[in-house]
């Protein structure tokens, strides 16, 4: 960190947002259509350059978030995701993006932001599978954001950020099922979320009716780290079939799958 004769290279900073929400039981991400030239017309994550020299990065993320969604900032969970700064990721030059992950309760309609470019909720599956092609390295960013959300659901109270202020346990279960892409047993889910003291707290005697028996309402409790965690069911990625006892003391298995994916940065 020493400043010598040579002057360090300045770069342009952008803030990009992976805004996740639940719509009709599906995990969706907010995409905007690019109106400008690099990747014009393609869907992309909402975001933009730092507003002015003195703007905090987190403030810029909040600003972009309220530009795209009509949400009060307090209701939305927002955290830094990662930095994407590979050379060549932006044809305009060296542009480094600080990606953020935002979790919002189900928003009523695909809101159009202040810019005329239309915004739309797209199921993340369409992005992850490649069916929808995104500008820049935004598909990688979405992938990382979804993975972050899936992991944090296990160990933190992040799931409540997908819900309104008051919610039912069934709604909370639907959050887990949608984000993880699995089905959970209702009885075991009830047992587990209620075993974590401070995760959800009953919100008065209020109830709500949807046709059947009214559901008890809860709100997010003070506990933000979940212990014990809600472990996500194992993906069916075990060895094909354990033949007898040990396959062989081969000391070097052929790496069945499980790719390392630590260093971000690449993508586009």
């Amino acid at each position: 960190m020493q400043v010598d004769e040579w002057s360090p290279t300045p770069v342009l900073l952008t803030v990009d947002l992976v805004i996740l929400t639940l719509r009709e039981g599906r995990l969706c991400v907010l995409l905007v259509e690019r109106g400008e030239d690099p990747f014009q017309g393609m869907p992309a994550l909402p975001g933009g350059f730092l507003g002015h020299a003195g703007e905090e990065i987190l403030d810029a993320a909040h600003r972009e978030l309220s530009e795209e969604t009509a949400l009060v900032a307090e209701c939305v969970h927002l955290e830094q995701l990662a930095v994407y700064g590979a050379t060549g990721r932006d044809p305009r030059g060296r542009v480094v993006s600080v990606a953020h992950l935002a979790i919002a309760p189900g928003l009523p309609e695909p809101v159009a932001g202040t810019d005329a470019s239309d915004a739309a909720w797209v199921p993340v599956e369409a992005v992850l599978s490649g069916a929808v092609e995104l500008a820049f390295d935004h598909r990688r960013i979405v992938t990382d954001g979804v993975e972050r959300a899936r992991t944090k659901l296990e160990h933190s109270a992040l799931a409540t950020a997908f819900c309104a202020e008051l919610f039912t346990i069934t709604e909370l279960q639907q959050v887990y099922e949608a984000v993880w892409g699995t089905e959970l047993d209702t009885r075991n889910f009830y047992r587990k979320v209620q075993a974590v003291k401070g995760f959800i707290v009953p919100a008065g005697p209020a109830r709500r009716t949807t046709g059947g028996r009214p559901a008890r309402l809860y709100r997010a409790g003070p506990r933000t780290v979940l212990y014990p965690p809600l472990i996500r069911p194992a993906p069916v990625t075990e060895e094909p079939a354990p033949s007898v006892e040990e396959p062989a003391p081969s000391a070097q298995e052929p790496a069945p799958s499980a790719p390392e994916q630590d260093a971000k940065q690449e993508g586009e």
Copy 2:
């Protein structure tokens, strides 16, 4: 992400490194003494500006890493940690730092880098407790890096990055104990690490002698995600004493502790 009349503000990018290793059973971080003016003479994380306009961020981190440590890059785990860009964190102006977390096997001596400024391994406890004061917001970065390491030890094979290519199960246990700051039961640890297939694989019939019975050697296996995870023992942060059954249907507990710490960015 649109470019209009106003030109976006360029910022200076630095790369800072939290390099962790084990020395004498203690988790240590590499600190250098600053030779230049901002915070001159204070200990700080190794790091520096992006070398040239086209340098990849991860490459810059690797470059800084090999400048400070005499390690071949292949042996060292390196991943992006977070971005720290708060205004005012650097008195020279708007400097945004991409912090990285590096895990290295026990290095022989406090190596001095290419710059004459001396480098030293410092127990992380001294940094976390505030006994050692760091330049910039580097204490916050160390805190985040250590927490990242502690968490990743549960779910990934990161612990093997603290070990040499060949290691014993006892050494691996010492890694967990040092990073988590807890003691683990030897028998349960043996059972658990061997239950995760592909985590560690026996490295031939080779053995090694240290005075007692020779220990079997292992090397890191292909598995990078640990399932089931090695859950870290619960910190003794439970409620004081569950009185009878339920404290009271008060619907709003007084938030016993557990501070939220999601958004980084602040610190200094």
